[in-house]
């Protein structure tokens, strides 16, 4: 009989959460350890492996676990390694074979991928992309991440690092400076951070325009502030979302010309901005889509609970 459970591990910079997941995408049991304080990958794997084994044994599921999937910053699915992960001291400047190490420690098959790819697999296994073979998950958080599925498979590329759609350059001339060292990247416009940059720009360029956003003093404006202002009918806030949605929608047209997905699935903080973001996004897609693709690609919001999605996404890798 095929084993009925998998382990999903969401490795974050501060915390590593994991759970035992069934075929329907229910997290039956969960636990976590701190990611902080480790200087050697071996020590981290030792503690994490022990914690995972404990959770399995405590719940009498030994022998019933098919495998482990991990979502890891900068994780490379092709070879199961992690390399230059931000905020992970033991993976700075070296390549750590994390999947192999966890496999050895737990005695279970272990694979890993990056967070956005894990999110895409989670959507395909349990979420909005169930039954789809071609779709793109776009995570709209501090940055913009992406997980691309084509013909039922993750697009990982020859080096395992495909799918950095947040770093497609949408503005070639005088684009915003990006954390990657280049300019005009999608994520400088269409992330939560991008929205706050747009807010600052719009307020500066139009000093005479009234906006409730001007009442926010002594702390930086957040994308949530812009959302709350838009809900109150603040015209400047609504324009900020129009601008954001338009840039994202035009970029989506280019992504469609690449892999012609059945749907974009939006995930992360900014995806909860409702019609303020979605309406201008869809309008831009209608206005700028190549004829052959017009009206074919849906824009969906992830149905996965934000708190559980990372574990679920990672766990989906273990079914593959």
């Amino acid at each position: 009989m095929d084993k009925p459970y998998v382990i999903g591990i969401d490795m974050g910079g501060t915390n590593t959460a994991f759970g035992i997941v069934d075929r329907r995408g229910e997290i039956l049991f969960r636990d976590s350890i701190s990611t902080l304080g480790y200087t050697k990958g071996e020590d981290y794997v030792n503690d994490l492996g022990n914690a995972v084994n404990d959770l399995i044994e405590k719940n009498n599921l030994k022998g019933l676990i098919k495998g482990i999937g991990m979502g890891v910053p900068n994780g490379n699915m092709n070879d199961g390694t992690v390399e230059n992960a931000a905020n992970i001291p033991w993976a700075k400047g070296i390549v750590v074979p994390l999947a192999a190490m966890m496999g050895k420690k737990t005695g279970l098959p272990c694979s890993l991928t990056n967070d956005a790819n894990a999110a895409a697999l989670g959507e395909m296994a349990y979420g909005a992309a169930k039954g789809m073979k071609d779709f793109i998950v776009i995570t709209l958080g501090t940055g913009v991440g992406s997980g691309i599925v084509s013909n039922g498979q993750l697009v990982v590329g020859h080096d395992g690092f495909a799918g950095e759609l947040g770093h497609v350059r949408v503005i070639r001339e005088n684009g915003r400076i990006c954390g990657c060292g280049r300019t005009g990247c999608l994520e400088t416009y269409a992330s939560a951070t991008g929205v706050t940059r747009t807010a600052r720009e719009f307020m500066e360029i139009q000093p005479e325009r009234a906006s409730v956003l001007r009442e926010i003093q002594h702390r930086p404006i957040t994308s949530k502030d812009v959302y709350e202002a838009a809900k109150k009918g603040d015209k400047l806030a609504i324009e900020i979302f129009n601008f954001t949605g338009r840039i994202l929608g035009e970029a989506f047209c280019d992504f469609v010309a690449f892999s012609s997905p059945k749907a974009f699935i939006l995930f992360g903080g900014l995806s909860h901005s409702g019609s303020f973001l979605i309406d201008p996004l869809k309008k831009a897609m209608e206005d700028h889509m190549l004829n052959v693709y017009k009206g074919k690609t849906e824009v969906l919001i992830s149905k996965l609970n934000d708190a559980e999605a990372a574990i679920l996404g990672a766990s989906a890798l273990a079914w593959e």
Copy 2:
């Protein structure tokens, strides 16, 4: 024993060429029929099927053919249909199940795809992409076409029409008008036609600049003229290629962020422009590539003979 030969059919607007191909990509026997003069798909399929059957029988290869692959304008690999093909009167406004019709007529399994996808399969089976699982073929002709392979499979999308990279919009503001009805598409800059548009623009903007291209009167300038001028050291012609290569190279950086291919394989007339095109293209890729991908992706010129590539590409589909 696995059957040792396949049929490749290259359906063009005026001529349909086909051949019997072996595993090494050698076209052993070939023939052609006119594509013109048919008002019904049935009549075309009848004549083409007869001609194919004749070629097989004449060479005593009955029973040794594994299948038929067709490269067809606007061909949809997902369902083997052709729809709204330019210059094909019997496929205007209707969906024709061409692969199924040819299969029935010849008694051989038949699949089809569009020209650029066929080119990609041809490169993978017999050409520069042999052994690669992730690459992108870019055809630089009158327009810009593309065939994308990810994880060893063609990226065809949910509707079969993925891979229109010539219609990625590289200039968002005041871009050139494209035949697709939109503006700023890659093919308005990086095709043979794009090069001649750049030539006209550059000569108009800088009326005082001397160039041998100005000696061409009473007929439109071609991209070949620009190439010949560049070879003579004409500075304006060299600048035209610099501009073209830079736009193409910047677009390639975005494509890498999507599927991280091991190589771009350039095919078609403009790909024979040598270092005039390739040098600025590679420089733009170095200058604008996201760090994680830097120096990893090759730019290769197709090794397939232009005259044979279309039949070979189509034939590769039959091995799949």
